[in-house]
Amino acid sequence: MEGVHDLGGVHGFGPVVPTPADDRPFKAEWQRRIFGIALALTGNVVVKMHEIRYARERMEPAAYLASDYFEQWLASVETCLAESRLVSFAEVDEAAARIRGGEAAQPAAERPELTGRLRAGIFDRPTGTTETVSGRFEVGASVKAVTARPVGHTRLPGYVRGRTGRVVRRLAASALPDRSAHDEGDEPHAAYQVEFDLGDVWGTEADQNATIRLDVWDDYLETFPSEDRT
């Protein structure tokens, strides 16, 4: 999606303000709440991370830029729950109104098995596969990012579209977000880390001794005319 979230290279945001070393992750109870909710829903695969990201990208542009980081999380979680028909926006509106009106919270049961499973997932030895599905390119290959700009979810930033780089690493194969976010399949696709010179991306005024490396799925790279069209 060609949204405002695709921020690489955008001018106008001013200086970066460093964060103190002892900064705490959460500044308010509501931030803790949405953090816990989002991790629980994605950890238990009620909602996919690819869907959370696409939902966030679908915020109104001005709202995305004006919202607190965790507010973006709330907007994307609500969108995912509404579209999978688990909780509607109206139901949250009504429940919030009742709480605002002074309704006491209902006593609620703990779910030790569900919670325990989630917690274990944060600490367990990972069991994911590192299979490398073979892609078209070897390390060292010159590759060109596609220029297509899809309306759905994608993870190729606009600033490298159409640019030529070099494969520097083969990565573990993984589901292509462009398909997985839209329930079109989670089968693993080949991926690489690709290096681009800053000068090639931004022009002659850019730092000439700097590079950007991105994780790029094989699907984001053009087929060269010399290749077989089989």
Partner: protein
């Protein structure tokens, strides 16, 4: 989730941003509804939050770095298979499968970012700091990294040092293995851990001898 067509309104049109009172009400409402529907327990949110407030943070990454500085064989294992090396130090979790450590050298300085959202190497660094998530960082670090490091973080890099920015656009979660600072030969692993800052593992700072994390 279906694709949104270009002329279609956002599903949250008109709803955001809102003030903190509303955010508090909405999140409480959402949590209550999810508990009611069996998707959360009353203990779930508190448990997950406490893990990231108390257990998982840059102290874990500092242990990995200090071990790599003092044990050459571990360092090699870290650079070739970070998930397994981190597991040796008890660092795990599903996301750790995607960890890759990138080494700073005399000629290359690494820095990480996620321009599209805020992906971050959580298993070794915890929750990302505010600057990392900011539009200013996400937009500028891939375009003028040396300038951002110099102007905003006070980190000066000579022009013959390549600045290498890793944009976490995919599944890999990169973190920086900074260089061991000079003047630290007399320090043991535990003392070296004190020098490894969150920002040095992001790449916007370098560890300095005599400069502990406490500040």
């Amino acid at each position: 989730m279906r694709r949104q067509h270009s002329g279609e309104a956002s599903p949250t049109a008109g709803r955001y941003p809102v003030d903190p009172v509303e955010l508090d009400l909405r999140t409480r409402a959402l949590e209550a509804l999810l508990i009611e529907r069996g998707l959360l327990g009353a203990d779930t949110v508190a448990t997950v939050v406490s893990v990231y407030e108390d257990d998982i943070g840059p102290l874990l990454g500092a242990r990995v770095v200090a071990r790599a500085w003092t044990d050459a064989a571990f360092k090699q294992r870290l650079l070739t298979d970070a998930p397994s090396a981190c597991w040796e130090l008890g660092i795990g979790g599903q996301q750790s499968q995607h960890l890759v450590a990138v080494e700073n050298t005399e000629w290359v300085h690494n820095v990480i970012v996620c321009t599209l959202c805020s992906c971050y190497p959580w298993p070794v660094l915890g929750v990302p700091p505010t600057f990392y998530k900011s539009p200013a960082y996400r937009s500028r670090i891939v375009r003028e990294p040396r300038k951002v490091l110099h102007d905003d973080f006070g980190l000066v890099l000579a022009h013959d040092v390549e600045v290498r920015v890793h944009d976490m656009s995919g599944e890999t979660r990169y973190f920086v293995l900074p260089r061991r600072p000079p003047g630290t030969d007399h320090l043991d692993e535990e003392q070296l851990r004190e020098l490894v800052t969150r920002d040095s593992m992001i790449g916007v700072a370098v560890p300095v001898a005599g400069d502990t994390r406490g500040g």
